[in-house]
């Protein structure tokens, strides 16, 4: 499974929504993600992709859409 697919699976799981159709929607504005969800996302990235992201690396504006999250994960993998 590639990174994009894994991240999408994590996001679908976390938000309880299929986000593949709204790749550029702001997940925080739509209420699908919050601080709790962000931490879960970071932990999942760590356990499933081995990507270590410290909390202070999590600048919300760089992680607020599915596309941004995927490209972040790809750049850190």
């Amino acid at each position: 499974m590639d990174i994009k697919e894994t991240v999408l699976n994590i996001l679908n799981d976390l938000t309880g929504n299929d986000v593949s159709g709204v790749m550029d929607d702001n997940l925080f504005d739509s209420g699908l993600l919050d601080s709790m969800g962000s931490v879960q996302l970071l932990l999942q990235l760590q356990s499933e992709l081995g990507i270590n992201v410290p909390v202070s690396e999590f600048e919300r504006s760089e992680w607020d859409t599915p596309n941004k999250i995927i490209s972040k994960a790809e750049s850190l993998a």
Partner: protein, 403 residues
């Protein structure tokens, strides 16, 4: 010697205007003079902490030396090693002065601590945050001089907004293009003028004209259920309005002055009274404080709890952390029953809010959403917030526990 509250009176603003003019000309020509910036910083710090308040000035100097030693020492240590206990020890050492300042009045009959000074909490937030980012490895190039400028940046020293080291450094090490800087001046000046309206007209009306009258009326109307009366309700709204216009006004001065100095200090308020729920309220009210708590307490605690599987369910983790987070915020305001109750109130409000949001998500089809429900949500949130501010104000303490 002259002594001023920051942004307290017209003379302060006149001095500010004169002092900023050479700096503005410099920035327009693409130059930032560190020497000049340091000189005016020292000048305005002297106005705030010198003269009759010299003991605060001394406390500030000692405090700064102490925090510099800690953050610098930790940054040097972190390049070699990364032990958890050392990190926790350093954070505890960094917050000890603030803890003493906050606890002293509670145990010493309201006496202020000798090591306190205006702004001690805001500086502690900046120091602790610098340390945490050093631990995470996101802050690699700690520079002593930048840290000093960051801590002692005079427009925001007394009450924030709480900037972040890396964000501040980026602005501080560069000069905005002339086009951008002209836009910043325009914004900065507008912020300062809106600040005048907020602080010197609206906050003055609510805080100085209205509140004392309502307070007297409320004290005379005691005796009913929990000593509550219509004037108490009036006081609640007047206090809330005063709190908002006073602090938002101050924040606009601080941000406006920063912009004129070519530093984009983050905004502190974003139309908080139109929040449809408490969670959204905290994204709009005293933003730099609530985001500080979110990033350096809430998210870190949640991360720790989840990693060590302390609670089975994520919702339990979130709820427990909300309460801890807001209780710490309450204690930070001061060790009195009303500040702590205020924190607890908001912690519980966030828990209830989250439960409602989950319920709403599940039953999306059956819950109506229209202009009326939106207006009702905003009305309810604003009133909950005002009620929490009544607790926060300490006025209940006065009507219940004074003769």
């Amino acid at each position: 010697m002259l002594s001023f509250e920051p942004y307290g009176n017209p003379t302060y603003f006149a001095l500010l205007g004169v002092a900023l003019l050479p700096l503005m000309i410099g920035l327009l020509y693409g130059k930032r003079s560190r020497l000049y910036e340091t000189l005016i910083s020292v000048f305005f710090l002297l106005l705030t902490f010198g003269g009759p308040k010299w003991t605060q000035g001394v406390a500030l100097i000692i405090y700064i030396l102490y925090e510099v030693a800690l953050t610098w020492g930790y940054a040097v240590y972190r390049r070699q090693k990364n032990s958890g206990p050392i990190f926790y020890l350093m954070v505890i050492l960094a917050i000890i002065p603030l803890t003493i300042v906050k606890v002293t009045p509670a145990v010493d009959h309201g006496q202020a601590s000798l090591i306190g000074f205006l702004g001690v909490s805001y500086l502690t937030f900046r120091a602790v945050q610098t340390m945490m980012e050093t631990r995470d490895g996101t802050l690699k190039n700690y520079s002593l001089m930048t840290f000093l400028q960051f801590m002692l940046f005079f427009p925001t020293i007394s009450s924030g907004p709480i900037d972040r080291y890396r964000r501040f450094e980026k602005d501080y090490r560069s000069v905005p293009s002339r086009e951008k800087y002209l836009g910043m001046i325009q914004k900065g000046v507008r912020y300062i003028f809106v600040g005048f309206l907020y602080k010197f007209i609206l906050a003055y009306y609510f805080g100085t004209m209205l509140m004392p009258k309502l307070a007297i009326m409320a004290m005379h109307s005691r005796g009913g259920f929990l000593d509550l009366s219509w004037p108490v309700l009036g006081y609640m709204y007047a206090y809330s309005a005063d709190l908002f216009f006073d602090f938002a006004g101050y924040s606009l001065f601080a941000v406006g002055t920063s912009y004129i100095m070519g530093i984009e200090t983050p905004m502190n308020f974003n139309q908080p009274w139109k929040s449809p729920n408490i969670k959204d309220f905290w994204n709009r009210w005293h933003i730099t404080l609530s985001f500080w708590f979110r990033d350096f307490i809430y998210m870190r605690l949640v991360f720790w709890f989840m990693k060590h599987r302390v609670f089975k369910k994520p919702t339990t983790t979130a709820n427990v952390t909300y309460i801890i987070n807001m209780l710490i915020m309450g204690f930070w305001h001061g060790v009195t029953w009303y500040y702590i109750t205020y924190g607890l109130f908001h912690g519980v409000a966030l828990v209830v809010n989250d439960a409602w949001l989950r319920y709403k998500k599940k039953h999306r089809a059956s819950i109506p959403h229209n202009g009326f429900t939106q207006a009702f949500a905003i009305f309810l949130t604003a009133n909950m917030v005002c009620f929490s501010f009544l607790i926060f104000s300490g006025f209940l303490d006065k009507i219940w526990f004074t003769k």
